[in-house]
């Protein structure tokens, strides 16, 4: 009996030890995170949260901002997205509230409605809590002021993206809570939205340090000023000044404010050019280039221009704001892999189109003329080796301006060494027969004859008839070279060259536009000539009328900013999308064994079928969002 009692007590003791030892297991705190209170108790944590805001500017941790597998420029006449043409809804006429394609998903993440507002919330969290952060030293106070100014910059950056895509939007400067009433906020007018962003930008400009006084990659006075220039330049165009739905205050200013906006745009650009917000310069020389340049001189200009986009370490004075990338850690991009030629085991996306390639001038500043040697034949250039020897410019890729060589990979363009062949891009096909009989034929004649010779055709290594990854071969006849680093093997390595979100050339072009639109032609064209001279092109004469000046300026902006995304905004701002979004065809090239070469712009087939829908001048707010917030007014042209 005693034994029982003792052992029972023993067992009860053991069990009660178990029970008592762990009664608080349910009351633990997370071991792997901070809570919101701790965030605003330490300036270092606030700063770390600010890095998140920088990160979300681009939508996600990797591939921050514009340098992505799919470039925004493929939504313009500049490029073709060969892998997802159907999702580039802007050029397909199928951009609707139900289907935004790339404009509603991560591929163009920095443009996404959701992403921009997510980051605005992040910034509002900082601005709402930062005044509670305990301050110990004067250094802390300075850091707080700087973080605030950076926050204003980031909010302005996000709102600028929203304004340029959607027009007037909902303006939010505080953090929402889940139980708030979401049905009362309505879209502000374009004017109110602009004013809101300008207020943020002015605070940012005032509070931010100059470049060199803050880590590269963070906001600076110059960056905020350049963003202001970008914003004002956009809103001073035709689109927002009565050109489209002029009575709708969401997308058009009411009343005649254009001259005032142009003046503001001109002033801020001028201040930047004058060095008020830091020292910015165009890379290379802006003195007049030598006339009749040798090939080496052209290539030197080309390399200078290309180098702007290949900066891996400390940025030069052309860069105003950008994103840095590393091979492995942090932000990553693989543009060499995404855009490079298929013959190098790359994916060949974002291909320049033939109509755009024809826009590149000759090296002497005269326009490129396809039918220069066979007037009226806009689609075929055919010549023998003897003819080419006496006139190298029969080859459409010879004698072009330096930026052509820095931007386009064409048939015969020098590129990385490769084992089985050589170091030239091979888009054209080799024919093992003679081809002189094709000279003088038109498109259908050439194509018929080539077809009859198809047994002797050897596909170019970088073409869609290649033995290697033909599906990644070019559909247009070109690859993009800009921002590709010849030094790395894209198949194996990430790129390390920075994405330049805002560079000095853009500010100069903004300035030129404001001047020309205000009628100050000479000042405007002088700015255009800065860009041309740096590129190795001679000056434009200054004594011309406004429309000629405007045409020259727009041409220059097109070529200078090619593939950087700028054109998606300008073709809308200038309202020329319906003129430039058009079907286009591929270029086919054949090299015959007798030295004959034939370049055919094959109008018998399309490289891409395109349609522009005028409603798409502004992006639609997605159906889901409107359903959640019925008070949101949809943009014009959408149901």
């Amino acid at each position: 009996m005693k034994k029982y009692i003792i052992k029972s007590i023993f067992i009860i003791c053991i069990t009660s030890v178990f029970l008592s030892s762990c009664t608080d297991v349910l009351d633990q705190s997370p071991v792997d995170s901070f809570n919101e209170e701790s965030l605003f108790q330490d300036i270092n944590l606030v700063e770390a949260f600010l890095y998140q805001c920088y990160d979300v500017i681009g939508g996600d941790r990797e591939e921050v901002l514009g340098m992505r597998e799919d470039l925004l420029s493929s939504a313009t006449d500049e490029l073709l997205n060969i892998h997802r043409a159907g999702q580039v809804t802007f050029t397909k006429g199928n951009l609707t509230p139900d289907y935004l394609g790339q404009f509603g998903d991560w591929r163009l993440g920095w443009l996404q409605w959701d992403v921009n507002y997510l980051n605005i919330k992040n910034v509002n969290t900082i601005l709402g809590g930062i005044d509670d952060v305990p301050v110990n030293t004067e250094e802390d106070t300075k850091r707080i002021e700087q973080i605030k100014a950076e926050s204003y910059f980031i909010r302005a950056f996000n709102y600028t993206n929203l304004l340029r895509s959607y027009g007037g939007v909902i303006l939010i400067d505080k953090k929402f809570n889940l139980d708030d009433d979401f049905t009362t906020q309505t879209r502000a007018t374009l004017q109110e939205t602009l004013d809101f962003i300008l207020r943020d930008l002015d605070k940012a400009i005032a509070g931010l340090p100059l470049k060199g006084q803050i880590e590269q990659g963070r906001a600076t006075k110059g960056a905020a000023a350049a963003l202001k220039s970008r914003l004002l330049s956009f809103v001073s165009g035709e689109l927002t000044n009565g050109g489209y739905e002029s009575t709708n205050p969401l997308v058009s200013f009411q009343g005649d404010v254009r001259n005032q906006l142009l003046t503001q745009a001109k002033n801020i650009a001028k201040e930047i050019i004058d060095g008020k917000y830091g020292n910015y310069q165009l890379t290379g020389t802006i003195t007049d280039p030598p006339s009749n340049m040798s090939e080496e001189e052209v290539m030197a200009y080309a390399e200078n221009y290309a180098s702007i986009f290949l900066q891996k370490g400390e940025w030069n004075d052309e860069v105003i704001f950008g994103v840095q990338y590393l091979n492995r850690q942090g932000n990553r991009v693989r543009n060499n892999l995404y855009w490079g030629p298929n013959g190098y085991n790359n994916w060949g996306n974002n291909e320049p189109t033939e109509p755009t390639v024809r826009q590149y001038e000759m090296k002497d500043g005269t326009p490129f003329v396809w039918d220069k040697y066979n007037q009226g034949e806009m689609n075929v250039r055919a010549f023998t080796s003897e003819q080419l020897e006496s006139n190298p410019e029969l080859n459409p890729y010879n004698g072009r301006e330096p930026r052509f060589y820095a931007t386009i990979l064409y048939d015969g363009a020098p590129w990385r060494d490769r084992a089985s062949t050589n170091n030239k891009v091979q888009i054209g096909h080799t024919m093992t027969v003679a081809g002189s009989s094709l000279i003088g034929e038109d498109v259908s004649g050439v194509m018929d004859k080539v077809e009859s010779m198809s047994a002797s055709l050897i596909g170019g290594n970088d073409s869609r008839s290649a033995s290697n990854q033909a599906w990644n071969g070019t559909k247009t006849g070109y690859y993009l070279r800009k921002m590709l680093d010849i030094g790395i093997d894209g198949e194996l390595n990430n790129n390390e060259n920075s994405w330049l979100e805002i560079r000095f050339a853009e500010v100069i072009l903004d300035y030129a536009e404001a001047c020309i639109e205000l009628g100050e032609i000479q000042e405007g064209l002088e700015a255009v000539n800065m860009i041309r001279n740096r590129a190795g092109l001679p000056d434009r004469p200054l004594d011309v009328g406004q429309s000629q000046a405007r045409e020259w300026y727009r041409h220059e902006r097109f070529i200078e900013m090619m593939a950087e995304g700028d054109r998606w905004y300008t073709i809308r701002k200038w309202m020329i999308a319906e003129d430039v979004i058009k079907d286009f065809s591929p270029i086919y090239i054949y090299h015959f064994n007798d030295g004959t070469s034939v370049y055919v712009y094959n109008t018998e087939t399309l490289a891409d079928a395109r349609t522009f829908n005028k409603a798409n001048y502004w992006l639609p707010i997605s159906r889901d969002e409107v359903n959640k917030a019925p008070q949101l007014q949809q943009n014009p042209g959408y149901n």
Binding site: P30, Y117, Q329, W471
Partner: protein, 1136 residues
């Protein structure tokens, strides 16, 4: 109607547990099922003394009392009238003395054999009736021996002369003596065995072999925190024995239960070694999202894995489907699978079993060959007016194979896969009792190889299981069990999606190997699937070590009868190590200029240029993680009989805590790939990271059973769970349940009117249970760390903080109400059985974001809130036919079928532009797609029906669902049955003839639509054979196969124009499993000193009997993944 049909009635008035002890001695199956055995006493106190003071009590009561106070077990038949009243007054008297004094006057004898006491009527006191009969007819005395299939004597079997009450029981050696009339029939019955009937002929001596009854009502079934007999079961529980699972010889237990546990939908998504565990849905789904898996409880410990456990170690598996799962409270809503493992036997048993399997893919997806592909692409290009990639001469060469260098005919899938892959499984177990300590020890080894032709993937598993039951004193028992698992997975660095998927995608016009044997060029980024399966490109080794240790103590004070206090403590340590080493591999590229050509221009020889592909330098990532789970449980049991009333109660407390952490490290720039350790890598670009997480739960558990006269069974369950995941105010949840069963066949009216249904039990239950998915601490705004932006001219990656959790301060359990009615029945002397269940569940408080209400412009990423509701209804039917044709031949046929359909009752669904796209009201996972209603056969058809711009003859017709003349997003419809099949069924046929057993299982599922994402093909990516056969061309317009197309064509864009053309019905019925086994004759076996040898051959996933499509395996339902495997195996099981 045979009067002597109720086997159980002679014995069941006794306490069942002790009878089970008896059964254990002689039968295998029932030996292990009884967890309670571990709690029972094992001190054989011979000549024990008892203290009894009873006046005018029934004999039964006295016998019960003696059984309780001692280890004796009484055996008697119904000749012994235990309702006779006796009076006993004994204080510390020997049992024999007590019995002598009671039985003397009662005309009964007793004999003590070991710890059994046999009671019988005195021979000379037969009733008058019998005496009269005696006088009228010749009588004859027979003797006999009753043994089981293993040849062991069956003690206490009832021998009854048919049509009389004349009978006896077998003694300790299985012998009996009985005087019967001439030409009489005797029946031999014993619990757990099928009834035997013998006609008495001229012989005087009879030998009876009893056959185990696998469908006995006495079978012990595991339920939550305990066991019960099938006949006392109140809830809806399916069960399968470990032997049955082990006999399937599939690679793992999750697939072995397919079709054998009614109510479990089992879908195996891949046959890849080490990853081939099946998705199990108990009664379908009742929730949103991916959290659909049932709770797996192994030996009482929740949250363990079904994948690694060795099927030889399993005693039984139960599936709790209805409110009976409520005893697992907060984790039970997806159903509970209870696994009971084996424990030590009384007699020594050493068993070795092995099987050697040969595996081959059930169906390999068929793709176009080189000629077909070239023709397809050319037809496409001709149709679209595009330049040809292949000339007619090329196509001809691809078709005739004349030019292997420039026009190869590559069968990528054929080069990837070998005909047979091997799988083997060995298990050695020892079991017995040593100095009262019962032990079970088992060692298992499993090796499973991949189907790849190159040396590659394999899965190896070593498992050790140990169980000791130690009686410390006669009231205190302890047990220790250990489960150790070492699993090793070795994979190529490329996932099977690429290897198998890309083998269907890579064009057959490119060489996998050159005619001279070197591997050919890559598809993209180094991908040549045939080469990538080998370890030339590195390896991915995943080693996991699991240690699961449980200590168990049970205290049964003699003073408080029916009471026990139990506790267990379990400590699980899991370690994982993953080493991912990649290195460049070599592929060979053509040097066309070096080609030597024959007179016809065909290449006969050529230089090949080797190039390093894939990556620049070797890279290594190592991952390490460990987690510790501690759990303890203290519980008390009490049960008491009050005449016809039986009451038992269980109450317990349980606590679980978990702590997990891990880290990983990366290096590249290895100078050489000879040393593959982290330190050998370069310093540049190295990287590392880590994580940690915690979890804890506390639970109060209670259960009350009340049973009136074995007819009315009531069960009440209550569980209260508290979880670390939730905030203090919503941390605790209550999960009650009530269950009721009525054994209607025990009622007189039933016996009189419906006696052909010998057994009928009606059951009903209602209960609540929960689910606690998601990460802990969702009630707190959490900010986590991550690598952020690259800043500064020195390019430093700053650490950023981001909001990882948006708080939902009110987060709590998902709640499920479950209602179930059902019945179990046996018909015509157990010739048939029929069980059925009908259920309705409703899950509320499902975590789901408020999609419709919070616009994105708020920037709020929404936390999941307890708002959604899903319900689910269905039924299960299980029926069987069981016939012992003669003592040599037995046939069993069993079939089961489950059907369920869920419905999303509420989610915060955004408004849809048209009503037919509203998902609420549909089952979960419904897909929104265009309805493809055929293909345009001519331009006329295109012109006459609304179509997308650019539609051509040969394109798929999208239905103009709303008849508005335009095809747009509004025409998309919802298609259901895309998440899992609603109907799932199995059919089993078992035949036993002497030593031979044949078991055949068919298994199938109903309509289940899967999109197989084949649209992403065209130029540069091969097409499936069905797409490249009989497709539409202007010349061949009368067909249902669309024209050739290219994936980038806008019309065919899979992402924006997803449609039913790409959906296939995965309904099938297949011959799942055939097992033929043979017990070598006993004479032969015993002569070489073995107890039993069973040899078998088995086939798994044999072939499809019926399938709605045959392009790929319908169970896997994806042609671009590792296929399901057909396995043929043979092996043996040897008992020493």
């Amino acid at each position: 109607m045979n009067k002597n049909n109720c086997t159980g009635n002679y014995l069941t008035e006794k306490v069942p547990i002790k009878h089970l002890l008896l059964i254990m001695r002689t039968t295998f199956i029932l030996l292990f099922t009884c967890v309670f055995c571990s709690l029972a006493e094992f001190s054989y106190t011979q000549n024990a003394n008892v203290t009894i003071d009873k006046r005018n009590a029934s004999l039964k009561e006295v016998l019960n009392e003696i059984e309780k106070q001692t280890d004796y077990l009484f055996i008697y038949n119904n000749e012994v009238n235990t309702n006779e009243k006796v009076t006993v007054k004994a204080k510390q008297k020997a049992v024999s003395d007590v019995l002598s004094s009671i039985l003397e006057s009662k005309e009964m004898n007793y004999s003590m054999e070991g710890n059994h006491i046999l009671l019988s009527k005195k021979e000379n006191t037969n009733s008058e009736e019998v005496s009269t009969a005696l006088a009228q007819q010749q009588k004859k005395q027979i003797t006999g021996t009753v043994v089981d299939q293993a040849g062991d004597p069956v003690i206490g079997a009832n021998i009854i002369e048919l049509g009389t009450t004349n009978g006896t029981v077998t003694d300790i050696d299985g012998n009996f003596i009985l005087t019967v009339q001439e030409n009489a029939k005797i029946t031999i019955t014993y619990i757990g065995y099928l009834q035997e009937t013998i006609e008495i002929g001229v012989a005087n001596s009879y030998s009876v072999v009893m056959v185990e009854d696998l469908h006995t009502l006495q079978e012990v079934v595991a339920i939550g925190y305990g066991t019960t007999r099938k006949e006392s079961l109140v809830g809806a529980v399916s069960a399968v024995t470990g032997d049955e699972i082990a006999s399937v010889h599939s690679t793992n237990v999750t697939t072995a239960i397919s079709g054998r546990l009614p109510g479990a939908v089992v879908i195996q998504a891949t046959g890849e070694p080490g990853l081939d565990d099946a998705r199990i849905l108990v009664r379908g789904r009742t929730t949103l999202g991916d959290n659909t898996g049932p709770l797996v409880v192994i030996d009482g410990i929740p949250g363990r894995s079904l994948y690694e456990i060795d099927s030889n170690d399993i005693e039984s598996i139960s599936l709790l489907k209805d409110a009976s799962a409520s005893i697992y409270g907060s984790q039970a809503a997806n159903g509970v699978i209870l696994v009971t493992t084996k424990e030590g036997t009384e007699s020594k048993l050493v068993t070795y079993s092995f099987n050697q399997g040969f595996k081959t893919p059930t169906i390999l997806p068929k793709v176009a060959n080189a000629g077909e592909y070239a023709q397809y692409i050319s037809d496409y290009q001709d149709y679209e007016g595009l330049a040809r990639l292949y000339s007619d001469e090329d196509i001809e060469l691809f078709k005739n194979g004349r030019d292997p260098w420039e026009h190869p005919q590559t069968d990528w899938m054929g080069d990837l896969v070998r005909k047979w892959a091997l799988q083997s499984h060995h298990n050695l177990s020892m079991s017995g009792t040593f100095d009262k300590t019962r032990y079970y020890a088992s060692f298992g080894y499993r090796n499973d190889e991949a189907m790849y032709a190159q040396e590659s993937t394999n899965y190896k598993q070593y498992n050790l299981r140990l169980r000791l039951n130690v009686p410390i004193t006669d009231y205190l028992n302890a047990s220790v069990s250990y489960g150790g698992f070492l699993t090793s997975r070795k994979y190529p660095t490329t996932g099977s999606y690429y290897l198998v998927g890309w083998a269907t995608l890579v064009v057959p016009t490119e060489p996998s190997f050159w005619p001279t044997g070197e591997p050919g060029p890559d598809f993209e980024s180094g991908v040549n699937p045939v080469v990538n399966t080998s370890f030339d490109a590195g390896y991915d080794i995943q080693n996991n070590y699991k240690n699961e240790i449980t200590f168990n103590a049970s205290f049964k004070p003699k003073r408080i009868k029916g009471f026990s206090l139990n506790s267990f403590f379990t400590y699980d340590v899991y370690n994982g190590k993953n080493k991912f080493f990649k290195k460049p591999w070599t592929l060979y590229f053509a040097d066309w200029d070096s080609a030597i050509r024959d007179s016809e221009g065909f290449i006969t020889e050529m230089n090949l240029i080797p190039r390093q592909r894939g990556l620049e330098t070797p890279e290594l990532t190592e991952y390490s993680n460990n987690s510790i789970r501690k759990m303890y449980n203290v519980n008390a049991n009490y049960s008491k009989d009050f005449g016809k009333h039986t009451l038992s109660a269980f109450v317990g407390f349980e606590e679980l805590s978990e702590n997990s952490s891990g880290f990983d490290a990366f290096r590249k720039y290895y100078i050489s790939d000879m040393v593959q350790t982290l330190d050998a890598g370069g310093d540049q670009d190295k990287d590392n990271s880590g994580w940690e997480s915690i979890y804890a739960r506390q639970s109060w558990i209670g259960r009350l059973n009340y049973d009136f006269n074995d007819k009315y069974l009531f069960e009440f369950i209550f569980r209260r769970d508290g979880s670390l995941k939730f905030p203090p105010n919503s941390r605790w949840g209550n999960f009650p349940a009530a269950l009721f069963a009525w054994r209607a066949s025990e009622e007189d009216f039933w016996k009189e009117n419906l006696s052909f249904i010998d057994y009928f039990k009606f059951r009903s239950s209602y209960g609540q249970m929960g689910m606690d998915p998601g990460a802990p601490f969702q009630y707190i705004n959490k900010y986590s760390l991550a690598p952020g932006m690259t800043m500064g001219t020195n390019k430093v990656v700053n650490t950023k903080i981001y909001q990882s959790v948006i708080a939902n301060p009110n987060i709590t359990w998902e709640k499920q109400s479950t209602f179930n009615v059902g019945f179990d029945s046996h018909i015509l002397n157990r010739l048939f059985h029929l069980n059925a269940e009908f259920f309705f569940n409703e899950r509320s408080d499902i975590l789901s974001p408020r999609d419709a209400s919070v616009p994105s412009y708020t920037g709020l990423s929404l936390p999941s809130e307890n708002i959604a509701i899903v319900n689910n209804r269905g039924f299960e039917v299980e029926a069987g036919f069981h016939k012992q044709i003669n003592s040599d031949l037995r046939i069993d046929i069993n079939g089961n079928m489950s059907w369920n359909r869920n419905k999303v009752v509420f989610t915060d669904e955004p408004a849809r532009s048209v009503p037919w796209q509203v998902r609420t009201g549909h089952p979960y996972g419904t897909h929104l797609v265009y309805n493809a209603i055929g293909i345009f056969k001519s331009q006329e058809e295109v012109d006459n029906y609304p179509h997308w711009s650019g539609a051509k003859p040969g394109d798929v017709i999208f239905e103009d669902y709303n008849n508005d003349g335009v095809i747009n997003a509004d025409d998309r419809i919802l298609i259901d049955k895309t998440d899992a099949p609603e109907l799932f069924y199995g059919l089993m046929f078992d035949l036993n003839y002497k030593n031979l057993a044949i078991s055949i299982q068919g298994q199938g599922q109903g309509d289940y639509f899967k999109s197989v994402i084949e649209g992403n093909r065209g130029i540069g990516q091969n097409v499936f054979k069905w797409m490249a056969t009989d497709y539409w061309t202007p010349e061949n317009s009368n067909t249902d196969v669309a024209r050739p197309f290219h994936r980038a064509d806008q019309y065919w864009s899979y992402l924006s124009n997803s449609n039913t053309y790409w959906y296939d019905n995965m309904a099938y019925f297949r011959l799942k499993n055939v097992i033929v086994s043979y017990n070598l004759p006993q004479k032969f076996i015993s002569s070489i000193g073995l107890k039993n040898v069973n040899i078998f051959a088995s086939g798994y996933n044999l072939f499809l009997i019926h399938s709605k499509q045959r392009n790929y395996d319908p169970e896997v339902g994806n042609p671009q993944t590792y296929p399901a495997m057909k396995t043929l195996s043979f092996g043996a099981r040897i008992d020493f």
